[in-house]
């Protein structure tokens, strides 16, 4: 009897011990998060300074501050340079150290992460709809677009074609993309902002050709997507598919992404400007709920405003985004070709409508695209 008893106590004790250990570890994990500044910094400033070695000199004018910029895929290089410039500007102006952390991914996915609790001070996404989705959940004001100049879009871009050197398939315009034997690379419009701009540009072109006959337009888009062998989830994934894995004849890409691949990977590729494209306005916004709880509103707003300064505009242009400031744009007019551009508000009735019509469940994209169909 006693033998059974002494044996049977043990599993219980061990389990209790493991549970206790588990709780301690979770506790320390939370501390780590706080000291890193990402989570719940508002409630525990004391803990923050205690745990953060860099922040211990409390009497300094202002404690170092950290911002998180949640952005979309192709802006990595842009924000690396911009963050460094802003940190210097802010330090000169206020004496405060600012570190801007970056997170990148497909625009739609990033928007979902912020909704899911990723504590972004600012979002700089590929299209307004993805910020609208965050506003929908009450994380920021619904009229965020009016907060900064030019619909809160400090730089613009457009969609171009990237083809292999010498353009072996002779791709000149959208109509060449639906030809047999042409492989087109574009990311998935459900998850990627760039892909939605691609889709709308193609749609706009087809509509113009067909004189507004929607059935014909759908047929065109359907044919185009039958030529797409892989749908990556983000723009950068598609670029690597095209440039590194060597799949496809033409990449539908952000203009900045196309320039960047040329710069990084040499002249193995050529940029082709179609007869018509779309004016992409990647917008920026401050996430009200996060900055108010972290107390970073002032620096977050300054950060986005700095994008509109001459310095910020030049950094954007150097990273192949079209500056909106006409003076700076004039300096870079050799880089950015003039072409006819559709506008989301004028030609598609704004993002809310475009999203509903084309990309929501049951929209035109679902109608024309069946995975694996050929």
């Amino acid at each position: 009897m006693s033998k059974r008893n002494s044996l049977s106590k043990w599993p219980v004790l061990l389990l209790t011990a493991s549970l206790a250990l588990g709780l301690t570890a979770c506790g320390s994990g939370n501390n780590a998060a706080n000291s890193a500044g990402s989570g719940g910094a508002a409630n525990a400033p004391a803990e923050n300074t205690a745990a953060n070695a860099g922040a211990t000199e409390a009497p300094a004018p202002k404690d170092p501050v950290e911002l998180l910029n949640v952005s979309y895929d192709p802006t990595r290089e842009l924000y690396v340079s911009f963050n460094a410039a802003f940190a210097k500007y802010w330090k000169d102006k206020t004496g405060q150290e600012v570190t801007v952390k970056q997170s990148h991914g497909g625009s739609g996915k990033q928007s979902l992460s912020v909704i899911g609790g990723l504590k972004a001070d600012v979002v700089t996404l590929a299209l307004g709809y993805d910020i609208d989705a965050i506003a929908e959940k009450g994380l920021l004001n619904k009229d965020w677009k009016g907060k900064f100049e030019d619909n809160s879009a400090p730089y613009t871009s457009t969609i171009v074609f990237l083809v292999r050197k010498g353009n072996p398939k002779g791709i000149k315009d959208w109509s060449d993309l639906v030809k047999d034997g042409v492989q087109v690379i574009t990311p998935n419009p459900k998850t990627s902002g760039g892909a939605r701009w691609n889709y709308l540009a193609a749609w706009g072109y087809a509509q113009k050709q067909d004189g507004g006959d929607e059935a014909k337009t759908k047929e065109f888009i359907k044919k185009l997507f039958q030529n797409v062998p892989v749908l990556d989830s983000g723009a950068r994934g598609s670029t690597t598919t095209f440039t590194e894995r060597g799949i496809g004849d033409v990449l539908l890409a952000w203009e900045n992404e196309a320039f960047l691949s040329q710069k990084e990977l040499g002249d193995k590729f050529e940029i082709v400007y179609p007869s018509l494209s779309i004016l992409a306005e990647p917008p920026v916004a401050v996430v009200d709920k996060v900055v108010d709880s972290k107390g970073t509103r002032e620096v977050a707003e300054e950060y986005l405003k700095y994008l509109y300064t001459d310095e910020g505009q030049k950094i954007a242009a150097d990273n192949f985004y079209r500056p909106i400031n006409p003076d700076i744009a004039a300096q870079y007019k050799d880089t950015f070709k003039d072409l006819e551009l559709l506008q989301i508000d004028k030609d598609f009735g704004g993002w809310a409508e475009a999203q509903k019509k084309h990309f929501a469940d049951g929209g035109t994209f679902d109608e024309i695209y069946t995975p694996g169909s050929k």
């Binding site: 043990w10 599993p11 998060a33 890193a36 952390k101 997170s103 991914g105 899911g116 609790g117």
Partner: protein, 296 residues
Amino acid sequence: MAGGIATSRSVRKPAPADIGRPTSEPAAVRWLLIGIAVLFLTLIVLLPLITVFVEGLKRGWEVYLSALIDPDAVSALKLTLLVAAIAVPLNTVFGIAASWLIAKFSFRGKSLLLSLIDLPFSVSPVIAGFMFLLLFGAQGYLGPWLDERGLQVVFAPPGIVLATMFVTFPFVARELIPLMQAQGIQEEEAAATLGAKGFRIFWSVTLPNIKWGLLYGLVLCNARAMGEFGAVSVVSGHIRGETNTLPLHVEILYNEYQFSASFAAASLLMLLALLTLGAKSLVEWKTAQRNQDLEG
């Protein structure tokens, strides 16, 4: 043993060559088979492994080293080690407790518990990540409650630890259960009749018996904890220098056209893996030695 060989030699003296050759296949077949195996190993394992180092060093040692001391890389390495340092011990304690329970006792629901332990093996890591997002995310069941208290689980290290723990949960237990079942409970019973209390029994009887199996489980658990990508990718939020683990860092660098840096970081991960493998071989060698000692 030595005596045995001597006798057989003296009996079958005319054909000494037969003794050294356990199979009767012609040499050509044997070499072909060995060749295929070596070729296969080279193609599937060795070549990719070498490629990682070659690509990492392509632009010279300077680029390689600067990629390794880059603050983001260092923080990714630290986070990876931190996650392993939390997840592995916890899963070890749990694994010992669970396998003790399952191997030494019979109770209702035992097979259910076994299936539960196996669950992380059969669930895709990505789904595991989404589970934690649904549970702890701002729109999840516990999210609002955590948010009110200023606690951040997903998109922060705790979420990464949780996801890693889930994925590496079965390794230690799965290693120990068959071992403990094979050993039976006689020794523990004997100890108990001699008056040993529970912890004493565990410490001086059970633990020495499972020592090497446990170490092996630990090594596997650790390897997976450091290399996990899918589940961690979902809950990480990809904040550079903060919630990126080494595997995620490798992917980010690759996507930024920094191929050399990416492969340098990958080689770091590879070195960790090789260390783990070395530890594993040591454990295996020790186990084999111990078994020989037992038989001898």
